[in-house]
Structure formats: C-alpha cells, structure tokens
C-alpha cells in the first residue's frame, strides 16, 4: 500500500470536509485533491478500501477514519416503526440485532451469511453497499477497463462466468452486495450527509446507478457526502420475506446468484404485491418486474411460484459463459417465493 496520512475524525462534517473525493472518483481521476491539497477518501471498516489499495487500484494520500465517530454505528427504532441502521454498524452487529432478526429476517440472513465471521466483525453495512465490484478485470490494475476509465470491457469477450445476465451490453459487472438485494426489496432508503450536515435521503434502489447512467460509478454518492444511515420502512400488514443465495461453495464465497422476495399478502392469503430482487444478476440489484407481476393478485402455490421463476428471467441476455445463471435464478426465485409465503408475517 502507498504511504498515507491518517485522520481519525469525530464527526461526520469533519470527515466530509477532509475527504477530497469518493473512491470511484479517485480511481478515475487520481489527483482530485482536498482543501489541504491532498487526495483523501473516507474509511469505515476499510475492508474494501484496503483491498483496493493493496491491489494498487487506489493510492489516496490521506485516509479519513469514520469508525470512531460516536453514534454512527447505532441501530435504533424509528418512531414510525421502521429501523435506522447507522452506516458504520458492522455486518456482525446487523446480523445479530434482535429487531432485525425478528422483523427483517431476510436482511439478517443475507448479512449473516456474507463473507466470514472475521470480515463481518469489521466490515460495515455502509461500506458493504458502497463496495466496488468484484469483477476480476476490475480488481486487477493490469486491466484498464471501461469502469476504470479505460477503453473496453474485458469481461464481455472474456471470462464472464460470474458476470451479469441483464444490462450487460456496456459493462458486465454484478453488484457485489447481498445486503443490497434484500434492502432494495424492503424499500430501504439511505441517508447521505454532507459537510454542512445537510441530509439527503434517497431510495436505495435509486441510489444504485446502472451503466447507462454512469459507467464509472455504481452509485450516486457525491464527493464530500458521507453515507450516514440505512433506513428500513415499517412493515404494515401481512408481510413475508425470504432471501436465498447460492455460491459455488458454501464456505466464504461470493454468490453466483441471490434472490430476495418480499410479499404483501391480503387477509385471504393471496398476494397483494411482491418485490422480487435478483442479486449477482446485473450491475445494480435487479427488480424482476415480470416475476412480481406473475405473483401480484394470485394465491401463491408451487405452480405460481414456478411461473414467477420463469418470468424473472424475461429479457435476460446471458454472456458466453454465464447462461447457467438462468436455470439457477429460476430455481432460486421459485424456492424463495415458496420459502417466503410459508414463513410467518413480519408486519
């Protein structure tokens, strides 16, 4: 790693002032400097940051530490019945939280099944949402790919077995956060605070940015914005949820496919509306609208779940090495729908 100066901040505005650029910005334009004339980025858990720096993809002259900002990791109930998760709450704290386990178990599952115990004790939910893609061309400094400001995407003509099956014409990354799959299904919003303590709130689903809008950033984070919280809306009525993922291995692996399903059921047990979100399918968490439509207004049984599974892959454009993801997602959607509907209500 390069030599850098270390700033241990005690407030969000202090951190926002000290940072010169987002990680994504700095990877494209390595000389965006701060007021102090140095390139600097913020660090929460530091898991993704250290990985990028060790791979020589990023060399900030300063690192601004968020980890010690009091209260930024707090998990608290909102008066409206929702939950506010401080952005520097660790994945372990989120997975172990009693309210999350009881009310939003799909999130606890997704977060608790991510990575390894060691990583979960350090990585934060905010960092998890903001982490850069795992595409092996992106992660290798020797490949100057489109997303890093270069000329073309190496995955599309190359080794794309782990890459996107939707929205993959320009850049074929998949969004790496399993938590994001569930949070989008839950309708979560994120809070972004700037140096003046102004707070911007945006639906997480809209915070993620597809390649068509921005080829070089996965999200809408502005320079000098710090993600400060993730907010989960309250669950009203009969709400069922499930998250399933499948990696090549069960021990410590990125998913080949993951699915989050959220069902709003009516009193007679039929499905009023559904959210079906696919992770590891597209550059952003992918809302399978056709699958949602296949479920809405129906009483969910094996046959309906099967239809939803098929519909979820409508419009998929697999690459040379990843069409296996089609039957895999079809299976996971079907199983997640059935798992959700057979579980208790969380509302």
């Amino acid at each position: 790693m390069n030599r850098f100066a270390w700033i241990n901040t005690k407030s969000v505005s202090e951190a926002a002032v000290s940072a010169s650029a987002t990680v994504a910005d700095l990877m494209i334009a390595p000389s965006i400097v701060s007021n102090h004339g140095e390139t600097s980025v913020v660090k929460a858990g530091g898991i993704d940051l250290l990985d990028l720096m060790k791979e020589d993809l990023l060399a900030p002259e300063r690192i601004v530490n968020l980890r010690d900002i009091p209260g930024l990791d707090a998990i608290s109930e909102d008066p409206n019945g929702g939950l506010r998760i401080g952005a520097t709450a660790t994945l372990a704290a989120v997975a172990d939280h009693a309210v999350i386990r009881r009310r939003y178990p799909a999130l606890a599952d997704a977060v608790g099944g991510s990575a390894s115990p060691q990583i979960r004790h350090v990585a934060t939910l905010g960092g998890n949402l903001l982490q850069r893609p795992r595409c092996w061309y992106f992660r290798a400094a020797e490949f100057r790919c489109l997303r890093k400001g270069g000329g073309h995407c190496f995955a599309i003509p190359g080794e794309n077995q782990y890459h996107a099956i939707f929205d993959n014409q320009a850049c074929a990354i998949v969004h790496p956060s399993t938590a994001a799959t569930v949070l989008v299904a839950l309708g979560a919003t994120v809070e972004l605070t700037d140096a003046g303590n102004a707070v911007r709130r945006i639906l997480l689903e809209e915070f993620f940015v597809p390649p068509s809008r921005d080829l070089q950033r996965e999200n809408d984070l502005k320079p000098r914005e710090i993600m400060t919280a993730i907010r989960l809306p309250p669950l009203a009525g009969d709400v069922r949820m499930a998250h399933l993922k499948q990696g090549e291995k069960d021990s410590f692996d990125w998913p080949l496919a993951d699915v989050a399903v959220l069902l709003h059921l009516s009193p007679d047990g039929g499905c009023k509306s559904a959210a079906v979100i696919l992770g590891a399918a597209a550059p952003v968490p992918y809302r399978a609208k056709a699958a949602e439509q296949a479920l809405a207004g129906r009483a969910i049984d094996e046959a309906v779940a099967r239809q939803a599974g098929k519909a979820a892959l409508d419009g998929a454009t697999p690459l040379a090495k990843n069409s296996y993801k089609l039957p895999l997602f079809e299976t996971l959607v079907r199983r997640a729908v059935l798992k959700a509907v057979s579980g208790p209500s969380r509302g």
Partner: protein, 778 residues
Amino acid sequence: MPVDSATRSETFPFGIASVGLGGAERQVPIDEPPPLPPNAELAVIGKPVPRQNARAKVTGATHFTVDVAPSGMLYGRILRSPLPHARIRSIDVTAAAGFPGVRAVLAVAQPDDPVLGVARYTGAPIAAVAASSMAVAEAALRLIRVDYQPLPFVVDMDAARAPDAPQVHDDESAPAGHPSGFPAAADLPLQGNIRGPHITRRGDIAKGFAEAAVVVEGQYRTQVQTHCCLEPHVIVADWRADGLTVHMSTQFTAGVRHELAEAFNLPLNRVRVVVDGMGGGFGSKSTLSTYGKIAVALSRQTNAPVRVMLDRQEEQMDAGNRPGTWQRLRIGAKRDGSLTAISLVSYGTAGVALGGGVGNVAESMYACPNFEGAQHDVFINAGPGCAMRAPGNTPGALGFEQAIDELAERLSLDPVVLRDRIDLSPVRREERRIGAERIGWRGRHAPGADPGPVKRGLGMAQSLWMANVQVNSACEVRILRDGSVEVLSSVQDIGTGIGTVMAQTVAEVLGLHTEDITVRIGDTEFPAGSPSYGSRTTASMTPPARTAAWRVLPTLFHEAAPALNAAPEDLIARGGRVAVKNDAGRSMGFREAAAQLRTDRISAVASRSDDYGGFRRRMGDAALAQQDLGGAQFAAVAVDTETGIVRVERVVAVQDCGRPINPLQLESQVHGGVLMGLSYALFEERILDQHTGRMVNPNLEQYKLAGPRETPQIDVVVLENYQGRSATDAYGIAEPSNIATAPAIANAVYNATGVRMRNLPMTPAAVLAALGKIPTRS
C-alpha cells in the same frame, strides 16, 4: 552399506492383518535389526501418538521461514513480465539501483539471449532488487525500465496443438526430459508446441480390440490446479565469507544444499540449509528454483541476509501447478469383464515447463494383455508446472476410473465386482471389500433413480501409486549421559509429522515413550535425509531410524551391563528400563543406565538400505519398492439437479501404506488427500484470460478451495499390509490418498443423476449443462 554385505535369513510378518498374516523369508543384512513384529505386539509403533511438535505449533512458537528475520536482513522482490510472450530488448536498472535503500539490483533475464532473453509467461522473472524494506523494494521495482517486444502467444492447450500456433519453445529453450521419465521422458521429439509422444505398449491392441465383446470410449478433461500452500515460497539467504546458510520453506533440504553447491561453486560443507516449521509444499517446493537462486545472488552481492518471499499473486502465477489434461480412453473387454485392450491418448500442459502426463493408472492398475499409451506434453505461454500431489495419476485416474465404471455398466456388472475380476492386487481387493461395506454399497440404486430434484448416489474408484524410496537417506540416534535421546536428520517436516514417526520408531527400540525422544530435523548439518515428496519420507527415514537406534543400543548395554552384573547380550530395553532378560528383578532406569556411559554421548548413524529382496527399479538415489501403494475410495453425493450443486456427504477411504506407524497422523494425511481431491473435483481451476494470457484469479478468493462447509464425513481405514521389505516395513500415504477421490465423486454423480461428468471441475455451470438444464438461445 558395509563392504561385506553378508546377510542372514529372517522371517517377517507378511500379508494384510485384517485378512490373515503369514510369514515371508527375507535376506537381511547382518548390520540391520531383526524383523519388527506386527503392530499389535508393539508398544509405541502403530499407536496414535500426539504429534511431537504439536505444542509448539498450537502456541504459535514454531518458526516458519517467513518468521526468520536475522538482523540486517534485506528484502528481495522480483520484477515479473506483464506479458505472456515477449522478447526482452533491454533492462535498465539505473534508476532502481540509485533509489535510497536499494542495496542491489540484478537482471534475471538476459536481453537478446535466445533462451534467457524471452519471457514466456505472464509472471516470468525479469529482474530483482534487494532493499532495506519491502516498501523500498516495491518502489524500486517500479523504476526498472524494461523494453519488451510483444510476441504472439497461446494460452489454450487445444489452440497450442495447432501446427500454426505461436511457438512457445524451440529446441534450444525447451526444457529437457529426464531419463527417469519424470517429469517427462528424455529425448522426446518437439513439433510445434507438442513434445512427444511418450509411448508405452505391451501386446497388440488391434488384436485386443478385435477380441473385445464390448468397447467403451470416452474423452476427459482436467483443469490446471495450483498448490495453494498457506506459507508462500520463501527463502532467507545469508552469504558469508565462511559459508552460505539458507533458511527455506523447502521439501528437500539436502537436495537444495546440493543445488546451491553446484550453482554457486561451493563445497558441500560450506552450505547449510535449515527449515523448522514448513507451511506446506505439496510438490511445489522441491527444488532451489529461480527465486532461491535470486536470493542467494542478492545476498552475495550485498553481503547481507536477503529474504525473497513470494506474495499470493506470485504463488498463483509462478510457483507451480498441476498440468491440465485431455485424455481419450478406449477399453475393450470380454463379457465376463476381463480386459482385452486399453488405448490411451493424452495431451497435458504444464505451461512452459514440466511434463503433462497422466501417469500409469491405465497401464498398470488392472490385468490387461494389450495396452498402448501415447502421452504428449503441450507447451503454452503460462506459468510452469511443478509436481503436485500424485502427479500424472491424479488426472489419469479421473479418466480411467470413470471409463472402467462405464465398462461395468455396459457389462451389467457392479463396479466393485468388475474390479474383483480384473484387479490382481489382493490389497485393493480387501480395500474394496471394507469400503463397500462401510459406505453401504449394497444399497446402491440404479443411476438417476432418486425422484426428487436432489438426487443421491454412490461411486467408487481406486488409486495406484508407486512406492518411492530415497536410498541416500540417513539418520543418527544419540544417547546422552543424562538419558536424553535424540534422533537427527536433515529431513524436513512439511506437515506430515515425520519427526513423530521417527521418534516413535526410536522409542520402540529403546523401550521409551515417544516424548522421551528429542527430534532434530530440518538441518543439513545432520545426516542427509530424504526429500518430502513422492510419499517416500516414512519409507526412507524410519528404517534407518530403527537401525541407528538398534546399533547404538549395544554400546549402552555394554557400558551399563557391569552395574547389573550381567553380560551385555543379556540386556533388553523395555518400559523405560534396561533389564536382564528373564530376570525382572535385575533392572535399572534408562536414565540410570545412561549415567554409566563413559562419554557424554554415544551415537550411531544408519542409512536406508535396499529393500530386502531388492527394489523393482532403481533410478539414481531413488528406487521403487516391489509392491505399489494404493487405496479404494467410496463417495456418497447429493446432487441438486436444479442448481447444479454437488454435495459430497461422505467419503470412505481405505488405504495401505505397509506398516502404519501413527494412525492419528495417517488419518490426518488421508483427510488431506481426500479434501484436496474433492476440491479438485468440484471447485479449483486456474483461469486464464484468453485475450491477454493473464490469470484472472491469482488469489485465494476467486481460486476456490474447499472449506469447512464442503467437508464431508470422512471415514479412514488404513490397512496393515506387511511385506517384510525393510526394518520398519512402513511406506507413504499422502499421494495414494489423493488420486481416487475425484473419480469416486464423478462416479457417484453418475450414479445419482445418470449423467457422466467427464470434465473437471464439476461446477454448477458444468453440472447444469450436462443435465441439459441450460436453455439454448438463438
């Protein structure tokens, strides 16, 4: 061996203990001990003794080479080619040499030299620096200016076979074969990128196939696998006026010492190689290698100790790999199963170096009068291979044992029954019998019979491995006046626990506990021991350990006898005491007996003699025992046919290793072989980007290794298979336990799904494709 090689006749226990033991008569050199009884009659050998260096390892006290940091140590770092094939026009090290903290720079590649002036794979060493810190070394590397002229390259084995493919080697640069045939035979023709064929034949396969009632044919592919040792390749070289000392994570201290003496023109007695803790080798750390030479050269240049340690990316790209293979097998048989002909054609690639053969499984496992094998090596612009846990036979068994399975089905014979008919080995017969019973083979159903999406199945396969012995292995046993005992050799413990089994062997002779023996190994100051590869360490080291202990004991008896009022030949050592035979009342403690020694220390050195009755073959310092090693493994899998996930639920591994010395350690070894085989079957693959020739997963995150959640229940049975061939009759197990796992799993997947997986790894993508689950799109 003494000049007077007089022998005496002895009767040894012979046979498989679980079947029934008889006797075998052997001629034993007169300076070697009498036959060792079967384990049931022994005090320490054959018992599950805790590893003697375990306490140091569990407390973090063991020093691995990565932990060695002598004062003044410099950090070496290697600059590597970013291109898969390039001519090196010039290397300018001026800026690097002038960088503060840099103490030496050397060029490894030689510009414009037809052999050394060409980088033939991404990661090939170009230059190296030694500096005051890793950070300075890394910064200095960035200052080295290399002028590369890119050349056309090829990284796909099939593409490399085409006559118009870019040529990786010419006759001058191509690595030479070896008269031993490993890793590749000598004097094979090179045409384009294909070296070979290496042909072995017996009988007449045309005639054999004509006689066959049934012929099965299949093509198989195995992937390139990397070693993934946890401790990277690392060396600390300290060149001084009075000699060279090298700490190295190595599988062969004595061999590296020879290589150093030769490479740097030093007398052997001025070269010392040392290793204490050693974090895994699996075949990749058997030689001095380029990085080792670089460290020594830098140390000589700087007059300071220099450490060169590969990072994980270098480990994945340039520390060796198991060649990938393509095989075509044809097997002809009569209706009753007897084989009439076997034809094998294979192509294997180990990048720019090494042979990519598929071993001798097809040739030697079963009785078949007619055989022809044509094995070829294919060079591609990728990192050089290295022997990896049962080279050749591991990929070879994946194809061959599946082909045999296929034959069994065609003949409507149970796969175990077919093998009972064609396998001449009584040891493997017993292994099949035990394994079949343990796994519940009788309950095996027809392929694909399970109704649900999750389908279960059983499969089995066998392994064959030649029992290697290193003849130039020696060991010293010392008894000190305070009663302490040492066993010493340059042999190294790479995780297999050789120190413990040597201590057990010595303890058995001296009537002591294993923990009474101090083990001093991993240092070429001690008598030269064997390498830790080829599963030969136990076979090579435990006989001289026993013999040395047996030779030093009479001296102790001679000096202690007067105190017991007895003749030395009437004394025995047992239960921690020295006693008069048949007179329990007259004895003294071992320590008391040692106190009678005239001098502070007595010792005896012994070297590994030839196997009693001779070896099957001798190749320089190495030899093959007459009987092969092997095993039978049975796997139970559950295949989720909707996700393509294969779960191995249980493996029963029945192996033989002559006389098992430490069942606890042997079980660990077999676990290791099975897990590595499982990981090879399901997850691992070195993946190269075809357009740039670069490895895209040079790490432990996207190069996938089996973890705790992929670990099945593993039942290990190790036979006692006495042959009476040496002072301990003990042989190795590491490689034999790695060979059969992947084909056993593949055969189980066939039994579960009715679909045969002919290519590794069996990823969900591969399984779903084989099951026809992937939609074809226009």
